[in-house]
């Protein structure tokens, strides 16, 4: 059953991607226009789409910072300790 669902979704990958984009845009619209932001802790959070940008930038920073750190000589071939 699980396999069938996965296969069903995989054959409609294009549609799935379009729906995902749709969800992202709806989320941004909801954040910018409808959301009550009185509970925000800082002024920055009141900017529309702040947490979306924060999430995306976090992801980029983590990937590139870690790869850069790895290249400093931290990553070694697998037999390094043998």
């Amino acid at each position: 059953m699980i396999l069938n669902i996965i296969e069903y979704l995989r054959t409609r990958l294009g549609l799935l991607i379009r729906i995902s984009w749709g969800v992202l845009i709806l989320l941004l619209i909801f954040d910018a226009l409808l959301l009550d932001k009185t509970k925000a802790h800082t002024w920055a959070e009141k900017l529309p789409g702040f947490w979306a940008l924060f999430g995306f930038l976090s992801c980029v920073v983590i990937i590139f910072l870690s790869k850069w750190y790895g290249k400093l000589g931290i990553t070694k071939h697998e037999e390094y300790y043998d």
Binding site: I2, L3, I6, V23, L24, L27, L28, F30, D31, L35, D36, K37, K39, A40, H41, T42, E45, G49, W51, A52, L53, F54, G55, F56, S58, C59, V60, V61, I62, I63, L65, S66, K67, Y69, G70, G73, I74, T75, K76, H77, E78, Y80, Y81
Partner: protein, 601 residues
Amino acid sequence: MIDNLWLHPGIILIAGALALPLIRGTARKTFMLIVPILAFAAVMQMSPGFFGIFSFLDWELTFGRVDKLSLVFAYIMTLMCIIGTLYGLHVDNPYEVMASWLYVAGSLGVIFAGDFLVLFLFWELMAFSSVFLVWFRSRPESLASGFRYLLVHSAGGLVLLAGFVLHYQATGDLSFNQLDVGNPTLPIYLIMIGFILNAAVPPLHAWLPDAYGEATVSGAVFMCAFTTKTAVYALARGFAGMEILIVLGVIMALYGVVYAVLENDARRLLAYHIISQVGYMVAGVGIGTELAINGACAHAFAHILYKGLLFMGVGSVLYMTGKSKFTELGGLYKKMPLAFVFTLIGGLSISAFPLFSGFVSKSMIVAAGFDTHLYWASFLLTLASAGTFLHTGLKVPYFIWFGKNNCSDETWNKACDPPLHMNLAMGVAAFLCIFIGVYTPYLYNMLPYASNYEPYTAYHVTEAMQILLFTALGFFIFVRKLTPDPVISLDIDWFYRMGGRAFMLSAVRGMDYLNGRGQAILVQTLPAILNQFFKSGPARLCLLVIRPLWQLTGVKINGQDGAEQRFMDTFSQSLFTIASAAIFTVIMLMAMLFFVTRAGV
């Protein structure tokens, strides 16, 4: 001695562990399920109070301090013991199960300990029983890794003991309560170092990925739950509000995420994310408000379940295929769909998706940070949570079950969903991960402080969804960049692995040199000198007398054909040599005797 028939759940597990090897056949499997359930039942019927108080020398030892803080940890740990034992029901080696139960008993002993002496006893039991969960993998690497694990934990135990002794000397009090973290003294710092070593705070963390990546399939499920969370309990009990823990916690949260990017072994990746997740709890303890301590406990509770679930999911892949590296897996959704779903539920829980357990626990700590105006800490912890989703929620499922298929034919043929008991164990954990996320009073009513925290506000849900979904966007944009390479990453253990080697090398070289020099002096040079001395000694004595006579007569003394050379040649060949050498030796011996007896006087 035991008040009101209070039964320590640790005692049940220890007794069960000792009896286990005696029970054979199918009865053992039944017994394996009953013992952890009994321990869980013992925790369930407990009411707050002090139990199991014994007098020992001058001290009063408390084995059973029961309050809300100890109960919430004991509840989840005995529950996890049931799930972990069910997952490892296929294990035929009774000593592996024995080691896991003794390990859990150690954790429970620490949690109910009312004083430092009892705590230390069980603290050491944990280290010395859990190391067998690494060794029973029985690869050469696991043996080495286990020894490193033991080395680090023994060192940590000694620091802790030093802290306890100095603390007792300073205060005369052994009871384990909130310490004076406002004015930390040396003993308090030593105790803290002992605790945070078990919580895997960098730079004292490298034992964790080293050992957990190398442990047995079910051993890792136990290990990921107990050592670090027992340390979180100990910190919450003694160090609430210690400010340095906020900084250390945030460093942990980020450190684990950075190493997770570089990691190729799925279980080591999960191990680095333990460091990251325990970072939230350590930071929560450091913040120290009621909401933060509640958050640390709630997150420990949720973490034990979802991290156990993740280790079970990835462990089932290792169990079925023998592989745990991304570069040797991929595309397995066709073969192991159930394991995929369970791992995904674990991944969504750790990533704090709404309706999953991490969402209702992690957010308490971040909210406590915002409430106390520690904006930098809260923003950095949120940044780390994006990294958590990036790796555990996306990278692990994607590169094992989807992505490029790197499986060898052998791996592919072996892969299929694991046996029933493993699926059951994962099913229970997965259910609880969702249940905690959906029905918050279940967890919140167990927490040490009453609170009216509400995670499901429109603002909080939108915030979480934006962070998570836009992280996912980043993942799919940069997925090529995240494709794992067959490499390892150096960590702090480099220092003691290489330091150990340098020590071995210098010891071997040093001993070799000493041995060689000893051989040369005692076996070769010295006997040769003595031999020469006794052989030519008499002749040289005679020469002392003869040489002046030769000088008077004017014969040629030196050189090949000189009188001296001819004398020595004749001397060494005549019978006289033997007699004179004997006399000479006797004289020497008497001289020695004379000096020896003189020295005696």
